[in-house]
């Protein structure tokens, strides 16, 4: 209790200690320790199969850890899942709005689940769609929208209840560079409103946009710092080069 209260007041949004997840004999996430400050944009980098999604699933409460602890928004991921669920938003790797519902119906559903009043839902729907430039599509089926729009909408829906922390699992995979750029503008806007952003990606250019990044190889966090610190340490021009050097030692690779 005191620990949780402390970490929240210390401005720590997420702290993980020796967080581990095994699937049989395979160690997907291997004793990772890190913390994320409130209001930060934290890039959680790693190759495919490095264990990013497994780690994120433990943090949002979809998967129980095999070992270790973590606190999200001051709540224990083992014992206080319900508290965590109220303070986070989550956008999974798979697009997960309902394709057979309209934009308005999707927003209303999630707003309703998070306990917003009908007035709040109406107001946020309008604001959200104005921001996204999607006002004309409010009654279109989400399945009929272009992929980039879907992703931006999914992000906004993950924020509909104004969570303290939002987890984004490869939010920009498969979208064009312009949409990726716009997506990052949305991320910055959310951060500016005080939302902590925890984002995984394997686009290294996106890593440059983050306040701090961690690099995960074979289930372990091998490096953590600001993009500038890491580039200096490895004497490289880009985060991409840092990543390539670190990932060269990976054994699990794509297949894992």
């Amino acid at each position: 209790m005191t620990l949780a209260a402390n970490s929240a007041s210390n401005g720590i949004a997420i702290d993980a200690q020796d967080l581990t997840r095994r699937f049989g004999s395979f160690v997907a996430v291997d004793h990772i320790t890190f913390d994320v400050k409130a209001g930060e944009v934290f890039g959680f980098l790693g190759a495919n199969g490095a264990g990013k999604t497994t780690a994120i699933k433990m943090l949002v409460g979809l998967l129980a850890p095999s070992e270790g602890t973590a606190h999200v928004a001051g709540a224990d991921i083992r014992t206080q899942r319900d508290e965590i669920k109220r303070s986070i938003g989550y956008m999974s790797q798979r697009f997960s709005l309902y394709a057979d519902l309209t934009v308005r119906e999707n927003i209303r559903l999630y707003g309703g689940i998070y306990g917003l009043t009908p007035d709040q839902i109406a107001e946020r729907t309008k604001r959200m769609l104005d921001n996204l430039g999607l006002s004309g599509s409010v009654d279109d089926l989400v399945g009929d929208l272009p992929l980039g729009w879907k992703q931006k909408l999914a992000f906004s829906v993950a924020l509909v209840h104004e969570p303290k922390i939002v987890f984004l699992d490869e939010p920009t995979s498969g979208v064009d560079p312009i949409t990726r750029r716009q997506f990052w503008e949305l991320i910055y806007a959310a951060a500016a409103r005080g939302t902590t952003v925890f984002v995984t990606t394997h686009y290294m250019d996106e890593a440059e946009y983050c306040d701090r990044i961690s690099i995960m190889v074979d289930g372990k966090i091998v490096e953590l710092g600001t993009p500038a610190e890491l580039k200096e340490k490895y004497r490289t021009e880009t985060v991409d080069d840092v990543f390539v050097r670190l990932a060269r030692g990976a054994t699990k690779g794509e297949a894992a």
Binding site: V60, G61, L62, D82, K85, R86, I88, Y90, S92, R94, F95, S96, L97, Y98, A99, D100, L101, E105, R108, L109, Y110, G112, I113, Y114, G115
Partner: protein, 394 residues
């Protein structure tokens, strides 16, 4: 509880937006009922009969006429040779050979007893049984008519079922000596006096239809959310598991009851199925039964990951339930272990309840026992399903 409203709204929107789903839920069952109600019957409409009349008397001809007049039999051929008749059976040109011995009329006059031989094609055992019993009934009635004229007369139909691959044995087999037993069998069907198989089948088919909606649609619907990833999305929200499950079960529970109502209307106005008991009681039983069916669907959804798997597993279970429900074969003719197993089949109990209420006018008290079994079954299945669901998702 407010989130339940939002979720229910979402479920109904999704169900009714999917035109194929709507057709599947409301139109297909009705078509199925119309089709099966007309087709699935044990009744033998008209059996083909080959006549071997070696008596050639007024009485023998009267018997043939009598069989034909019933419209259950149509004479497809005749000759004095039983061998030809056997060949007709072998070639599947007739369902039955009626063989009247040469001293038929004389035996009746002298002994007040005679026998006729029925040779049946029993490749389809059920049909042969029905054909034989029709013939026996008509021959019995004919004997009673003769009795009115002559005093007591016994006519003994002697049944012979040839094996289709061994006609040789048949030819060599002697006609058995008449067993002189004065047994006058008068079958009378109670509750379904016309032995109308359709009345018997339609309630059963209705049960099958609501079961498919209850189990299959529920399982597929939940697994679909797993497949597209929305289940994970819902799992990170503060939505409680119970609300989620209620939102999944309530729509199909309602739709299945609506479907039952439609089916009963078809039964009433198309098939003229008798409805002697309380329709309200039918719905009460259905409401309970559906909890079991939905529970099975929910349980399956926790075991599988794709809609395809859900479909296979559900069909497997429904098929076993259906074949062991007494809808097509009487449970009393099953081996002991199967009868014992059938007791654990909710479909069997619900079919019994439906038939009892509709055809016999059973009251709550009459069907209390199977109703309680259903309550127990629903409670167990639903509890198991919810537990399993919590384990898998929690």
């Amino acid at each position: 509880m407010r989130s339940l409203r939002y979720l229910l709204r979402k479920e109904f929107l999704q169900i009714f937006r999917d035109h194929f789903m709507v057709a599947q839920l409301l139109l297909m069952p009705i078509l199925q009922l119309l089709l099966l109600g007309n087709a699935a019957t044990f009744e033998v409409k008209t059996a083909r009969m080959y006549v071997v009349d070696r008596d050639h008397t007024e009485t023998s001809r009267a018997l043939v006429d009598r069989l034909q007049a019933s419209r259950r039999f149509v004479v497809v051929g005749a000759s004095p040779s039983v061998d030809v008749g056997n060949e007709w059976i072998l070639e599947r040109k007739t369902d039955m050979v009626l063989s009247i011995p040469s001293d038929f009329e004389r035996d009746i006059a002298r002994n007040r007893a005679a026998q006729v031989q029925l040779i049946l094609n029993a490749e389809n055992g059920a049909a042969a049984g029905v054909t034989e019993s029709y013939a026996a009934q008509i021959i019995g009635a004919f004997a009673r008519e003769l009795t009115d004229e002559l005093g007591p007369v016994r006519l003994m139909p002697v049944k012979l079922i040839p094996a289709m691959d061994s006609m040789q044995t048949l030819r060599a087999a002697p006609i058995p000596a008449p067993a002189v037993r004065a047994i006058d069998i008068r079958a009378r069907g109670w509750y379904n006096p016309d032995l109308n198989y359709r009345d018997y089948m339609v309630p059963g088919i209705l049960v099958q239809l609501v079961t498919v909606v209850g189990s299959l649609m529920t399982a597929m619907n939940i697994v679909r959310e797993k497949e597209i990833g929305t289940l994970d999305q819902l799992s990170v929200t503060p939505l409680s598991r119970n609300v989620f499950m209620a939102a999944k079960l309530i729509p199909f529970w309602i739709i299945a009851l609506v479907e039952l109502a439609l089916g009963l209307l078809v039964a009433r106005f198309v098939f003229h199925t008798p409805m002697l008991g309380s329709i309200l009681l039918v719905f009460a039983a259905a409401a309970i039964y559906l909890f079991a069916a939905l529970g099975i669907g929910l349980f399956i959804s926790t075991l599988v990951d794709t809609q395809q798997q859900a479909m296979f597993v559900t069909f497997f279970i429904i098929m076993v339930y259906l074949l062991m429900s007494g809808l097509f074969t009487p449970i009393r003719s099953m081996p002991d272990w199967a009868q014992w197993l059938a007791q654990a089949n909710p479909m069997k109990h619900f079919i019994e309840i439906m038939r009892a209420i509709l055809l016999k006018g059973a009251t709550t008290r009459d069907v209390l026992k199977p109703m309680l079994i259903l309550v127990g079954f629903a409670a167990v299945v639903l509890t198991l399903a919810v537990r399993q669901y919590a384990r898998r998702v929690g």
